[in-house]
């Protein structure tokens, strides 16, 4: 528990190296901690252990080849990153996406949000000593990965969708699995909540653990569930709706203390909201007359069917142009943000008309809010520092880009 006790300076301190590889940090982070017994006096984070120079790589890759790079940012919710990137390019080019495709994308993005929050919340449980819940809900994450597999063929680094739409329509099996998730996951999630939400040990461990005030969180550039846990109702899906989010009714769960328990609860509630959004999307799609569109009509960006490539001149020409990067790109600069699993994921793209971005900058939410970590754990116990870190949902791939 963060006791914020005054720490005497004359003491002899211990320097403790937490990480880079440590079973309790869930990723490659190093923190050199100055300890007064079990209390943290100072933490010095070192990051960059898995830096892969994504921004530099992106300057040498055609637009469609950047999608796999975005997979590897927040790999717990790759589809959101993929969609965010597609929408950025679509904004630059000015592609209008049909409603059906937008709703299909919403379903994918909300599935990804659930998968992300499942990991983060169950890991908070693990770090406070409750392994069981983690094992229960991981089966559901696995199930969501099965849905991804049906939608795009991949599970973790999905590369889902294409510029201009989706690579393929949802298959009947995918729909079946989505309906199964909608029907059966609430029970599993409820079971998970019953294990933790009012659990005395869990509450004692997490309430007042690593708190941050709303003012401080805003100054530190917090976004996503971490900011909402502090009581600020900022959600990109509502503030700057994209992909048809304006058509959905959902609530933004809020916390008050910005501590580990609030962050846990905000994510927990968000999963229920995501389920409701998916349900609404399925209903909207069922009512829609259009049952087949899965991409916009943009032959310059969307690969034609293989059959057309072999049998028609236009198909062959477009295929060649896309693969060889002969498509005209407009000049300009755009910023597009999506609500990622852990905050506002932004893409700042400068195009000079070349085949590759001239400059691509990722606004990576956890890189920005992880700066607050030393301040949040100062004066706390080491075991609380571990919990605070897992509740912040810091993903190494996104942190280091």
């Amino acid at each position: 528990m963060n006791t914020n006790k005054e720490i005497l300076q004359e003491k002899e301190y211990t320097i403790l190296n937490l990480g880079p590889t440590h079973p309790a940090t869930h990723g490659i982070f190093q923190n050199v901690m100055k300890m007064d017994g079990e209390l943290i006096v100072e933490a010095q984070p070192t990051i960059g252990y898995i830096h892969r120079a994504f921004e530099k790589l992106a300057e040498r890759r055609p637009y469609n080849q950047i999608t796999p790079i975005t997979d590897r940012l927040n790999y717990c919710s790759s589809p959101i990153n993929n969609m965010g990137w597609h929408m950025t390019v679509e904004k630059l080019v000015g592609i209008e996406i049909p409603k059906r495709v937008q709703y299909l994308r919403v379903i994918i993005m909300e599935l990804a949000r659930i998968a992300d929050h499942i990991i983060c919340n169950s890991v908070i449980g693990v770090d406070s000593g409750a392994m069981t819940g983690f094992l229960y809900v991981f089966q559901w994450r696995e199930f969501i990965y099965e849905i991804y597999e049906e939608l795009c063929g991949a599970r973790l680094t999905t590369n889902i969708g294409r510029i201009g739409g989706l690579e393929r329509d949802f298959t009947p099996l995918a729909w079946e699995k989505i309906h199964k998730l909608l029907n059966e996951f609430p029970e599993g999630l409820k079971e998970f909540e019953n294990l933790l939400v009012r659990n005395r040990i869990f509450m004692d461990r997490t309430i007042n653990c690593g708190p941050i005030t709303a003012e401080r969180a805003l100054e530190y550039g917090f976004t996503g569930p971490n900011l909402r846990a502090a009581g600020v109702d900022y959600d990109v899906r509502v503030m700057n709706p994209y992909s048809g989010y304006e058509d959905f009714t959902f609530e933004i769960p809020l916390g008050t203390n910005g501590d580990t328990y609030d962050r846990f609860m905000v994510r927990e509630q968000e999963m229920w909201q995501s389920l409701s959004i998916i349900r609404q999307a399925v209903e909207k799609l069922e009512k829609m007359e259009d049952k087949t569109t899965f991409h916009a009509d943009v032959p310059n960006f969307f690969l034609p069917e293989k059959e057309d490539v072999y049998n028609t001149m236009e198909g062959l020409i477009y295929h060649f142009k896309i693969v060889m990067g002969e498509t005209e790109m407009p000049k300009g600069e755009v910023y597009h943000a999506v609500e990622g699993g852990n905050g506002e994921l932004g893409f700042y793209l400068v195009s000079d008309g070349g085949r590759t971005p001239y400059r691509l900058h990722f606004r990576r939410p956890c890189f920005i809010y992880y700066q607050a970590y030393p301040e949040m754990v100062k004066g706390a116990f080491l075991s609380d520092a571990i919990l605070t870190m897992s509740s912040m949902n810091v993903i190494a791939g996104e942190l280091d880009a």
């Binding site: 990051i47 921004e55 530099k56 805003l218 550039g221 590759t356």
Partner: protein, 167 residues
């Protein structure tokens, strides 16, 4: 959409920083303002402190490099006024080969690591920054990797030069 109008912002900035503003334009949905380097910090402070403008949130910042321009190095900031849901982009360029910008980390602590990242990538220094070290790359790296002249791969490969990327 937002209660803070573009006209109001441009008017306010024109009256305060008229001389030093080089351009104001709408790029897609973003009001983008290019300002002289010397006025960058006062302008940012004004945007942050003014009660109506109230750009209290620093969304992101990053470096820019245009080797063919006279002022080749630049920096871009994006600010957000959440209550009014208004976003703004500020840019500033310099022809200095070793640019030094004023730090924004005293206004927005969020700028701390992002400025370190920009330093790491472009070699810019931020005057007044509390901890100006590399952040993502190793300390022994020579050069500034995001500058355009820094080769991503073997620079003699003919299949990977600029004309292959439509430039």
């Amino acid at each position: 959409m937002s209660s803070l109008t573009q006209e109001y912002i441009t008017e306010q900035l024109q009256s305060k920083f008229g001389e030093s503003i080089q351009s104001m334009e709408m790029l897609h949905d973003f009001l983008t303002i290019t300002v002289e380097k010397n006025s960058l910090k006062p302008l940012m402070k004004f945007l942050h402190d003014d009660e109506t403008l109230n750009f209290h949130f620093l969304t992101t910042l990053c470096g820019l490099h245009f080797p063919d321009e006279a002022a080749q190095f630049g920096i871009m900031y994006q600010l957000h006024n959440m209550p009014a849901n208004c976003r703004i982009r500020i840019k500033s360029f310099t022809n200095d080969s070793e640019p030094v910008f004023e730090t924004m980390s005293d206004i927005w602590p969020a700028a701390n690591w992002q400025e370190r990242e920009t330093h790491d990538f472009y070699g810019f220094r931020f005057h007044g920054h509390p901890d100006m070290r590399r952040i993502l790359n190793m300390d022994s790296l020579v050069g500034w990797p995001m500058r355009k002249e820094f080769p991503l791969e073997d620079p003699f490969r003919g299949d990977k030069d600029d004309k292959m990327f439509g430039r």
